[in-house]
Every structure is written in C-alpha cells, then in structure tokens.
C-alpha cells in the first residue's frame, strides 16, 4: 500500500465516494424495501389476491348469504332425503345444491369461510405467542446469558423437543381429548402443535444474531443486555418467524379440518366449518361427491394463498437477495 504522508487529505476521493449516494430523500428501511420486492413478485400478488378474496368472503359474506346456513329447508320442503340418497345438486335457487341435511350448501361454504379463517388465525396466534415467548427467552439466555443462560436454554429446549417428538396430529388429538371437544380446544390443540416450530426457529435465529458484531458493538457502547436482546436481536430474528406464521396459517386450517373430521371439532355441528363439512360429506361421496369437493377446494385454495404469500415473504426478507 502506498501512503504518501503529504497526501493525507484525499478530499477528492472522499467527494467521489460520497457522490455515490445522492440527494436527501429519506432512507429506505429494510421493511419498506421488503414490501417493494413483495409487490414485484407475481406469486406474492396471486397469494395476496386469494387471501384478500378469502378475507372479504369471511368478513362480509355471512351478511349477504341467501339462506340461513343452519336452516334445513331441503328437508322441510321434502326435496332432500339423505337416507334414501336423494340430495339435489346445484340449481338456480341453490347454487351449490343442498347438503345431506337439506341446508343450502353455498350459504354454508360462505359462512364456513369465516369459521375457518378465525380458527386458522387464532390457533396460529396461540402457537406464535407461546412459541415466541419460549424461543425468545431461550434464545436470549443462550446468546447472552453465559453459563446459567445455557442451562435455562437447555431446559426449555428439551421441553420443546418433547413436544416436537409427538406426531403433530396425535398431540392435537390428545390436547383436544384432554380439554373436551369445543372450538376453543381445537384452536389450542392446533396452536400447541406449532409452538415447538416457532420456539426453535426464533431461538436459532437469535443465537445466530447474538454472535454478530453489532451485538458486540452494542455491548461495547454500554447498552444493557436486556435492551440488546429486545431492541437488536429479536427484531432481526423475527423475519423467519413471520414467514413461518403465514405458512402455519395454511397448515392450521388443514389441521383444524382434520380434527373436525375426526369428530374433535366444534360439537355444535350446525355451525358450518369446512373441515366438518368435509367430514360429513364422506358418507355421501357416491351420491353427491360435490359436497366433499367444495370444502376441499376451499381449503386447498386458501392454504395455497397463504403458502404463496409466505414463500414470497421469505424471499423478500432474505438479506442475501437484497441489493
């Protein structure tokens, strides 16, 4: 390297370097940058459109449906007799036909969307909250807590491992059976299944972040460890957790459907829910396969929407792809 002492002030170089960043528009934060990338990704847009449609149906649909979803009109009007295999298909009045109890299938699909959305979101939130709490404590303890921190982390992670070692459906079934069948139970059960995933994910990301130089820099500035964990490590570790949450929403919906299918769902079977509708339809598959196809397609499309958006978010938040 050549460093002539007389040329110490290389102002020209400095000016040239500074001109690389021009004018005084505000800086672009990571989140805004990620949003911009998300908007340019076709998969994200497809996913977002599906989800927007789903949420719209779930929120305002129930006010607009032509029939009460619990009204057994078909039986009353003697057009449906499921015992004799008579379940009429789609018609001008009933767009998707009747279900096995003579209720309007279209109305049930629309109202069921709301149930499905609520169950999906709430159970994901339950899993996310508990998982983030466990993972956050374990990650902070392992990353910054020294010897005692590692012990705390070890204990928490072994508990999580135990949850992880049970097959997810079995875990959900045990929780649901233990607490008695109700809608809340289903949501707790499905939430519990995703707890270890969130906990492990956040902990791993936090430990990776705790070894980064900016954490060392913050402690050399004299910032408290608790503040470093909350204001540096956690925000930088959340991206994979958020992505996982969108993906979990999709699996949660499927798992709720599975639990309903197994009869551990909402005991009030009059309230439409896609999983339950699917379960009820199995007896009439040979008569009216449509009854199974409609809720199945609903579940698939919704899960697809969440998955597409989740994958796109994973890409958008990946720091390796940032320019």
């Amino acid at each position: 390297m050549t460093l002539a002492p007389g040329k110490k002030k290389e102002k020209l170089d400095r000016l040239a370097e500074l001109s690389a960043v021009h004018d005084d528009e505000r800086g672009v934060s990571l989140w805004r940058e990620a949003m911009r990338r998300l908007r340019r990704n076709p998969a994200a847009i497809v996913g977002a459109v599906i989800l927007a449609a789903f949420v719209l149906v779930a929120v305002i649909g129930p006010f607009l449906v032509p029939y009460e979803p619990t009204d057994t009109i078909g039986v009353r009007e003697k057009v449906v007799s499921s015992g004799h295999g008579i379940i009429p298909g789609p018609s001008a009045d009933h767009w998707l036909g009747y279900d096995h109890q003579g209720r309007d299938e279209f109305s049930r699909m629309v109202v069921g969307a709301r149930q499905t959305l609520i169950v999906g979101i709430v159970s994901t939130l339950i899993g996310l909250t508990i998982g983030v709490l466990i993972g956050g404590v374990a990650g902070a303890a392992a990353g910054l807590g020294g010897r005692w921190g590692r012990l705390v982390d070890n204990v928490l992670m072994r508990i999580v491992d135990m949850m992880l070692s049970l097959p997810s459906l079995l875990l959900a079934v045990s929780v649901a059976a233990l607490l008695g069948p109700s809608l809340v139970t289903v949501m707790i059960a499905v939430g519990m299944v995703s707890v270890p995933v969130f906990a492990r994910l956040l902990r791993g990301a936090m430990i990776a972040q705790a070894n980064r130089d900016y954490v060392l820099a913050a402690s050399s500035l004299g910032v408290r460890k608790s503040k470093i964990a909350i204001s540096h490590i956690v925000p930088n570790s959340l991206a994979p957790v958020i992505v996982q949450a969108t993906l979990t929403l999709a699996t949660a919906i499927i798992e709720v459907a599975a639990l309903s299918f197994l009869g551990l769902g909402n005991p009030d079977s009059a309230v439409p829910e896609w999983g339950l509708m699917l379960a009820d339809a199995q007896k009439y598959l040979d008569v009216r396969p449509g009854l199974a196809i409609y809720p199945a397609v609903g579940i698939i499309i919704t899960a697809l929407g969440f998955t597409l958006l989740g994958e796109a978010m994973r890409e958008a938040l990946d720091p390796k792809l940032r320019r």
Binding site: V28, S29, S220
Partner: protein, 379 residues
Amino acid sequence: MTLPATDVGTTRAGATDALVEVRDLKVHFPITTGVLFDRVVGHVKAVDGVDLTVPRGQTYGLVGESGCGKSTLGRAILQLTPPTAGEVRFDGMELTRLSAGKMRGLRRRMQMIFQDPMSSLDPRQNVESILTEGLAAHGIGAGRSERRDIINRTLDAVGLPHWALSRYPHEFSGGQRQRIGIARALVLGPELIVADEPVSALDVSIQAQVINLLDELQEELGLTYLVIAHDLAVVRHISDVVGVMYLGALVEEAPSDRLYREPLHPYTRALMSAVPVPDPDLEDRRERILLAGDLPSPANPPSGCRFHTRCPWAQPTRCADERPVLRDVGGTKVACHWAEQIASGELRPHEVRVELVRPGDEGEAPSIVSAPSEPGTYV
C-alpha cells in the same frame, strides 16, 4: 479526563504515561460436551499470558496470523470477552474485577471499531439511531437537539454528510459504513479505541482514506489506539509500537521502525520476509523464510516455546521445554532464548521437519477444535 496514573507502579522504567496495562492476561475458552450439563473436556487457549502496555495518545499495533488470538485479546481488554486470568488496568483502574454496572459506565471511555462494517451495524437501525444509542445508554445530552448537536459534530469529524442520519447501513458503500462505525465509537468521546482489523474488509483505495481518517482523529482528539491487523504495511503506517503475536502470546514488541528494520524473533523475521518488495530484482533475490507446517492448535499448544515446532532456528536445548519470557534485547522486547545469537548470525537457520502427528495429542481431534476468531459473516 487526563488523570495521570500515579498509582501504577508496575510501569517499566522510561515508559510514558500508560493508558492500558495488561498483565499476564489469559482467555481460555472451554471445550464442552454433554446434553443437559456441560462437561469441560479441554480449553482453547486463545490468549495465554500476554503482557502489554499501551501508552496514552499513541498507537499500539498488534499483528499476527489468523487464529493467533489477537482479536480475542482486543475483546478481552475491553472486557467484551471475560478474561480467564490476569489483569487489565485502564487509567489505573483494574477492569477485570469491576462490577457489570461500573464497567458499563466506563465503556464510554473505551470503544471499538470492527472489521466488517456491514455485520457490525444493525441493518434495522438508521444512522441517527445507531449514533444515539450510545448517548442514550450513558445519558449524554439532555434533549434531542443537544444529542443532534453531538451527532452532527461527530459526522463532520468522520466526513459523513448530515443527510446520512435518516439512512440505513445497506445504503452506504463499504468505506462509508466504516465511517459510521468510527462515528459510533467517537460519539461517546472515548480515550481508547480498539480497532479490530479496521480496514481489512475494505478496498485498498478506501483503506488509505480510513487509515488517514484514524490518523487525523488521533491528532485532533488525542486518542489512544490499539490497532489489530494482519496487514503489516497498515500496522507499520499507523503504529508507534508494534507487538507480534503467535499462538496466544506476544513474541516480540518494539517501536514500529525498529521492528521493521531489525526483527529479532524468528517468527517476526518470517513475517517480515513475507512482505513483497516493490522492486522486481530485489524481490527475486531477497531471502525468504518459509514457515513449515500450520499454526498448532491453541487447544493443545506446543510445550516450551510455542514456535519451536516451526522455527528454523530451533535448538535442541531449552526451546522445547522452557517457555521464553519477553525480555529486553537492546530496546526490543523479544521472547526467544537465542535472540542475540540469531541476530549476530552465530546461529544459522536449518530445515524444519513438519510433524504431522504431534506427540501428546490424545485430547481432542484437532478438526473440532477451532479458535474463535472473528465471526465475520459474509453476506
């Protein structure tokens, strides 16, 4: 804050007012196994008995190859990595026994500059938030406007425009990011700055700018630097005193010019002979000392002189069984039993046989032992 360190009696004769004094500092990282309860099966001796003194207002350069423990030493001096044993005195205060709270308060007087400016800046913080964090932690500056004042003055000092405040690290070039890192260290008004490879992640043209900036800041603010680097030219340019580290310990320490003119320790000689000369004829003819073998594992360092397994001047006596201490040889401190004889030419270099399997290596497989060096993530 220029209290003379009167109560420091351990300073060597002739040394000027010392800001940092390190005595027999050791940092050993335990190697553990076990599922629930850690069982210690060995130690990585990253720093193993270092004595050094950084004079106030001067620059101490620390060189050595990767994995020799120089970064760990820097962090241990700042108490960012807790030392296993030894003393670190800062302005007469013993840091290793300070409570966490007192140490935190003292941190505004000693700061650090990192190698990789991208990984040492939180990607979610804009520059203003980065620079405010330290001020807030120490309660410097009453209000927002007063803090803005301090920050703007710091930005001027490191040559960054004021509009940088609202921007995020990824929007800057490498050199500018390093300036942000320097500003973060400076904003607290420290006396000591430990710069861990401050320029090695930067382009050569920008290295010069950053080094000159560090030079200017030292002149203006009277800073004391401990510069850790593997680039000999960089260290020569900015250091007053240079220490050479090998496998966790200092092997030689001398004023910069002297060290580069006449290195005494065999390892320093080998290092110096690795620097290319910008004259092709001279470059072809000059003597080069090529070291055989790799840096031994710091988990299982060689007995006696740490360097004897690779030393072309190693002697059958003393080298393998007696660890040399740093001693004064005509103004240079050197840890070699045979420094005088090597300097006078009485001892000649000889072939070194590489020992593929080191004796007494029954502890750990070397493959799983690695010295924790810079955890740089190259994103």
